[in-house]
Amino acid sequence: MSTTLPPTTRLPEQAWKSEPISEPDYLRNKRGIMSWVYTLDHKRIGVMYLIGILTAFLMGGVMAILVRTELLSPSRTIMGPDAYNHMFTLHGAIMTFLFIIPSIPAALGNFILPIMLGAKDVAFPRMNLASWYLWVFGAVFLIAAMALNGLDTGWTFYTPYSTTTNSSVISATLGVFILGFSSIFTGINFIATVHIMRPKGMTWFRMPLFLWSLYSTAIIQVLATPVLGITLLLLIAERALGIGFFDPKLGGDPVLYQHFFWFYSHPAVYIMILPAMGVISELISTFSRTPIFGYRFMCYSAIAIAFLGFLVWGHHMFTSESAMAAVIFSALTFSVSIPSGIKVFNWLATLYKGSISLTTPMCFALSFILLFTIGGLTGLFLGALATDIHLHDTYFVVAHFHYVMMGGSLMAFIGGMFYWWPKLFGKMYSEFWGRISCLIIFIGFNWTFFPQFILGSRGMPRRFYDYKPEYQGLHVISTSGAFFLGIGLILCAAVFLHSLWRGRRAPANPWGAATLEWQTASPPPLHNFVDDPVVTDPYDMADFELQRDTGDYVRRPYTPSQSDGTETQS
C-alpha cells in the first residue's frame, strides 16, 4: 500500500516539462556515428532496431504487393512460377523473422520497458547491443539467400522439399538460426530486467500490462527458440552432410520436422501477439481515462497464453499426423482461446463508462480489437477437426493468420508507434492524417483479406501461382484491396516523417497516462529519469490534469487518495 505519497517526495516539476532540463536528451547526449555503433543505451538500441525492422517491413511489403499483383490473373501476370515461389517465401520469412517477431519486443520494448519499469537501462546492456548486431548478421544471411539462388521453400522450410531444392536454403536457415539468438538475447535481458531492476514500489502487480506481456513473451523466446535453432541445424546437417533426419530416402521422417518446426513456430505466434495485446491494454486504458478492467485476469491470461501456447503445435498437422494426435491437439487448441477471449472482454469492459478520445493510437487499438476478434473467431473453424481438414492449406488459413499477425500485431505495433512516438523522438504528429491513415489501413486490410476467407472456404489452396478461373473474381478484389492498404501504410509513414521534420515539440505527458515513461521528459535523458520516479498505480490517471498552454498533463498537487481494491496487494 504505497499509493499515499508523502507530500515531500513530489516529482520535481522540470522532470515532466519539455522545457530545457538539466540533462540533454538521449538523442543529443552524444553525437557522431560511433556514439551509435558502440551505444549501450537501450533507447538508442531500440531506435536502431526500429530502423532495421522498418526496412525489413518495407521489403516484405513490396514483395506482398508483387505477389498480389501476380495473382490478378491465373498463370502469368508479371512473373514466372519460380519468381513467384521465391517472392512469397521471402515475403513470409522476412515478415516473420525480421519484422513481426522483433517488432514490438525488440524495437518498442527495448525503448519502453526500462523506462516504464523505472529503471536506468536493461539488466545486460552489452548483451542488448549484441542482440542488435546478431539481428543484422541474421538479416544479412537471410537476404543473402535472395542474392544467391533465392529461396523457394515457403517460410516453413518443410522437408524433404527444403533439403532437395536448388535454392539457398543453408544461407537462409543460418540467418534464421542467428536471428533466433538475437531473439533469445532480448528475452533473457527482459526476464532479468523485470526480475532485478524493478525500483522500490514497483511490485509485480503494479507493473503495467505491457511489461507483463513482454515478460511472458520473453519466457517463450527463451524456451522455444532453441528448439527452432536445433531443428534448423539438423536440416542444415541433412542438406550439407547427407545425414538422414527428415528425408525418408536417408532413413528420416519428414513429419518429424513438422513437429519440431511447429513446436517453436506455434509459440512464436504468441511471441508475435502477446506484446501486441500488452500495447492494446495500455492504449485502451489511457484513452478511456480509466484503469484497465480486471487487471489481474489480464496478467494471468498473458501467462496462461504463454503456457498453453506450448501445447497446441500439433494443430498445424491435422492432415499429416495420426487421428489420435489430431483429436488431442484439437482439444488443447480450444483451451488457448479462453484467455484470449478474456482479454477481448476486459478491453470492452474498460471502454464501458470510460471517457474515450479517438486519438490516432486509440483508433488503431479499436481496429486491433475488431480485427483480432475476426482472426480469433476464424481460428475456431481451424481448431475444429472436421472443418480444418477442408480449410487446411487454403486461403482461409492465409486470411486467418493475416488477421492475427497483420490485423493484430501490426495494428498494435503502429498504434504503439503513434502512442510512444512523442516519447521516442519528442515530436507530435498530425492527428488528422494519422486517423485518416488508420481508416484507410482498416478498410484496405478488410478489403484485402476478408475475400480470402471466402476463397479458402471455396477450396482455393494457398501458395498457388496458377489457379482455376472460378477464383479470379475474389483474387481481383483482394489485390485491389492490397493496393488501397499500401496507400494507407505509405500515408502512415508520411505522417511519421512529417512529424520528425515539422512536428510540434512533444510535452512529457501528452496523453495523461500514469505509467512511468510519461513522467520523464520527451525524449528522455540518457539515464531515463533525472530524479528517481515515484511508483504508483499504473492506471490511476485521475490525478493528471491537462495544461491548456503546453498540451501537457501534469499531476495535481498531492491529496490523499482512496484506494480502490485493485492495488491492495503490494
Binding site: P81, N85, D152, Y158, P160, Y161, T164, T165, N166, P248, K249, P254, S288, R289, T290, F293, G294, Y295, T319, S320, A326, V327, S330, F334, S335, I338, G341, I342, N346, L348, L351, G354, S355, I356, I369, L370, T373, L377, L380, F381, G383, A384, L385, A386, T387, I389, H390, H392, D393, S457, R458, G459, P461, R463, F464, Y465, A542, D564, G565, T566
Partner: protein, 317 residues
C-alpha cells in the same frame, strides 16, 4: 447424363458439395459460423456503442468505479469455454466419419510426384485423372515419390498429406456424378499449382465400362498415339515440351537421334536405350544445364508403355 450439369454451389461459403462427408462438414461449418457471427456482432456492437456513448466530452471524467468483477470475468471465461467444448465435439464427430473408412471401400493406389498424380486401379491401369463410381465408398492408398504433397478434393471436403516413405489413406463416398477439382494442397515447387487433376464420378454402372475401355489403350491405339497419351497423362508434359519451348526438362521436339551433352561433359546419342534409361534412372545421365529434379518411373511404367513413349518421341520431327 443431365447430372453432369449440376449448378455450382449457391452458397457464399464452401464449394459445391458432392460427398457424404460434405454435408456433415458443412453442418459443422455452419454451427461455428453462427456462433462466431453472434460473438462478432456482440463484440462489435458493444465496442461501437461504448465508443459513441462514452466519447470524451469537455470536463467529464470516466465514471466507471468498478475496476474488476470476479463473477463477471469467470462468466466470460466459463461460458465461452462451454461453447468451445461444443465446437470441439461437433468437429470431432465429423472428423471420425472422415477418418473411418468402411470395410468394403474400393481401393485406388495413388502416387504423387512433382508435378503429377498417378491413380492406379486394381487391374494395374494407371491414369492421371481419378475416376470413381457414384454411391460407393472409395479409399485412396497414397504415397509420394519425392516431396510431401497433399490430396485435396474440395467438393468432397477431404484432404490428406501424401508423404514419401509411408502410406496415408483417405476415403470418401461421392453422392453425385460429375467432374470435380482435385488439387495438391502442400507446396511442392515450381509447378505446385499445376498439379491439378479432377475426379470424374461415374453414374451407376458406367465406371466398370470406362475402366475396361481405358485399360486397353495399348491394344486399341498405335504405339505413337498411346505414347502421346502417356506423355500427357503420366507427367512428362509438365517438364518436356513438344514444340521446342524451354521448360524444366529438355524438349522432345526433334530430340530423337540428337547428340546430347551430359552434365559431366560427355555426350550421348538420344536413342531408345538412352530414353529408356532416362525414364527409369533419370539422374544417371542427366543433361547439362538442367536441374536433377526428374523422379524415377521404375516399376510405374510397363515395358510396352516405355516402348510407346519411345515411338512417340521418335515421331516428333
Amino acid at each position: 447424363m443431365s447430372a453432369f450439369s449440376m449448378p455450382a454451389s449457391a452458397r457464399l461459403w464452401m464449394p459445391e458439395s458432392a460427398s457424404t462427408a460434405a454435408q456433415q462438414v458443412d453442418w459443422v461449418f455452419d454451427v461455428v459460423l453462427v456462433i462466431c457471427t453472434i460473438f462478432f456482432v456482440g463484440i462489435t456492437g458493444a465496442l461501437v456503442a461504448f465508443v459513441v456513448r462514452y466519447r470524451r466530452r469537455e470536463g467529464t471524467p470516466a465514471t466507471r468505479q468498478l475496476h474488476h468483477h470476479t463473477g463477471l470475468e469467470v462468466a466470460w471465461s466459463v461460458i465461452p469455454g462451454i461453447l468451445l467444448a461444443v465446437i470441439f465435439i461437433v468437429g470431432l464427430t465429423g472428423f471420425m466419419q472422415l477418418t473411418t473408412p468402411p470395410e468394403d471401400a474400393y481401393e485406388v493406389g495413388v502416387i504423387g510426384k512433382k508435378w503429377v498424380w498417378a491413380f492406379q486401379y486394381p487391374n494395374g491401369y494407371i491414369d492421371d485423372t481419378l475416376h470413381v463410381p457414384v454411391d460407393q465408398p472409395v479409399m485412396l492408398n497414397m504415397t509420394s515419390d519425392d516431396v510431401i504433397h497433399s490430396m485435396y478434393i474440395p467438393a468432397f471436403r477431404v484432404k490428406r498429406d501424401v508423404i514419401p516413405g509411408r502410406y496415408t489413406k483417405l476415403w470418401f463416398e461421392a453422392t453425385k456424378p460429375g467432374e470435380f477439382n482435385l488439387f495438391c494442397a502442400e507446396y511442392c515447387g515450381t509447378k505446385h499449382s499445376n498439379m491439378i487433376s479432377s475426379v470424374v464420378v461415374h453414374p451407376p454402372g458406367e465406371f466398370d465400362r470406362w475402366l475396361e475401355k481405358a485399360s486397353n489403350f495399348l491394344e486399341t491405339m498405335s504405339p505413337a498415339e498411346a505414347g502421346k497419351l502417356l506423355y500427357k497423362r503420366r507427367g512428362c508434359a509438365q517438364c518436356h515440351s513438344v514444340d521446342g519451348s524451354q521448360m524444366a526438362g529438355p524438349s522432345f521436339l526433334a530430340a530423337w537421334g540428337q547428340t546430347a551433352v551430359l552434365d559431366d561433359g560427355s555426350t550421348v546419342e538420344v536413342d531408345a536405350n538412352y530414353i529408356r534409361e532416362s525414364i527409369l534412372e533419370p539422374q544417371s545421365k542427366a543433361r547439362a544445364g538442367y536441374r536433377k529434379v526428374m523422379p524415377t518411373y521404375q516399376g510405374q511404367l510397363k515395358d510396352e508403355e516405355i516402348s510407346a513413349l519411345i515411338e512417340f518421341i521418335k515421331s516428333l520431327k
